[in-house]
């Protein structure tokens, strides 16, 4: 099959499935809401403090809620039929990997859009048009890297006992450079300053390195899964 057509049909199929039950979307939205409220309780939601913490609150929320979605990227109905089914389909593994990144990222981005809107409303933050564009751009770019490395790790951990904790233990340290760049850029954008070249370079490098490595390594992860179960 034409890889591009296969890719689109996989993404469509994923979305039809998720859209019917919305379980993952709801779980992510709830986690995001709850995390925002926990931050408002744990750290004073006043303007002077928020100037130093808003990027962090936003991105920790993105990561905590997004990981709920990434954790489920391969769980499907919980019995592994999803990944097995995908691999039996006459589609290259690279295509499966990119399709899975795309559909997971769609869900995560939806959650992030909701979170950003709610954050600005509840924490009384505002952005100029340029700032908003920067935040959206940075969020999309950083989410791509986040999901790309998350999907690889999710494919490894979903079948393990205590896999959800292992996923987080493996994923979060890898995300630290991405997070620090995204937090820095988001804070600059909220403060109305230009973000400069550095965050773009770090996020771009992260995306390139981990999407490239991810595509190569996905093959091996699949081999490991097949003989394992």
């Amino acid at each position: 099959m034409n890889p591009l057509r296969a890719y689109f049909s996989l993404v469509r199929w994923d979305w039809a499935r998720e859209w019917k039950r919305k379980e993952t979307l709801i779980a992510m939205a709830m986690m995001s809401l709850i995390t925002l409220f926990i931050f408002s309780v744990a750290m004073p939601p006043v303007q002077e403090v928020l100037e130093d913490t808003r990027g962090g609150i936003l991105w920790v929320t993105f990561v905590l809620a997004g990981t709920v979605g990434i954790d489920r990227a391969f769980r499907g109905d919980g019995d592994g039929r999803l990944l097995t089914g995908l691999l039996l389909s006459p589609v290259g593994r690279g295509t499966v990997y990119y399709a899975r990144i795309t559909s997971t990222m769609l869900g995560v981005v939806l959650m992030e859009a909701m979170t950003l809107g709610l954050f600005m409303l509840l924490f009384d933050q505002s952005l100029e048009w340029e700032g908003l564009l920067v935040v959206v751009g940075v969020t999309l770019a950083a989410t791509l890297g986040f999901v790309a490395v998350g999907v690889i790790l999710s494919a490894m951990t979903w079948s393990l006992r205590g896999g959800d904790a292992i996923l987080r233990i493996l994923l979060f340290p890898l995300l630290i450079p991405l997070l620090s760049a995204a937090v820095h850029a988001t804070n600059e954008a909220f403060a109305g300053r230009p973000i400069g070249f550095q965050p773009v370079a770090v996020i771009g490098a992260f995306d390139l390195v981990f999407i490239g490595a991810g595509q190569l390594l996905f093959e091996f992860v699949v081999d490991g899964t097949e003989t394992g179960t």
């Binding site: 690889i152 493996l170 340290p173 620090s180 937090v183 394992g228």
Partner: protein, 242 residues
Amino acid sequence: MPDQRSLPVRVLDHPASYVAHGLLALAGLFYFGYLVATWVPFAIKQLKSSYLIFFFHFPNALNTFVFFGGCLGGSVLFLITKQPRWDRWARCSAEVGVMAGFVLLATGMTWAKAAWDHWWVWDDPRLMSAAVMMLTYLGYLTLQAGIEDPHKRRTFSAVFGVLAFLNIPIVHKAIEWFGETSHPPKLDGLSDPSIIATRWFGVLVFLILYLLLLRWRQSRLTTTEEIEDALDRIRRLEEAPR
């Protein structure tokens, strides 16, 4: 049963080679201590703890990289060849690397306390990258410990071993750029030839010491896995239909 292993393997596995290796490491450490205590110029010794600790900090920093690099090499070779020994190589390298990393962090923290009066300096990119690297490789060891099926364990660990190493330069750059900007003063004047020679000698000495650890862990792990393999094969033979 005649020993079927190749000559280098037989030599390396012989107990005498461990003893020789151990003696070499010990002699190196003594001579290294002697150099630190006597050869390096007195002027800098006034920095006291922050100075002495440097000669233990630097070799461990380099060796952490060496062994995490070893983990990367083992992981890649395992993915290509599927031979369990490369997984063992990667796993033991990670263990030794984490050990060197602990010494690195401990000496770094002591130095930070002595020089800047804080145990931890969030904006020192080297200290921070080392800590993030440690978190990553502790995750690697958690993964190795958390999977029972051997093939799955080896494959997944190798995949993560590659990802973990790829992240190191990005972490370093990100922390250098986005760490808080209240940079504490750095130590200067460490360019005396005796200092350079001593610290590189330290690198060598610690490399020899950690290689001994690596060999020891590897041989233990090999024995364990071979016994498990043998038990597994016996069980399968017993269960097989005649």
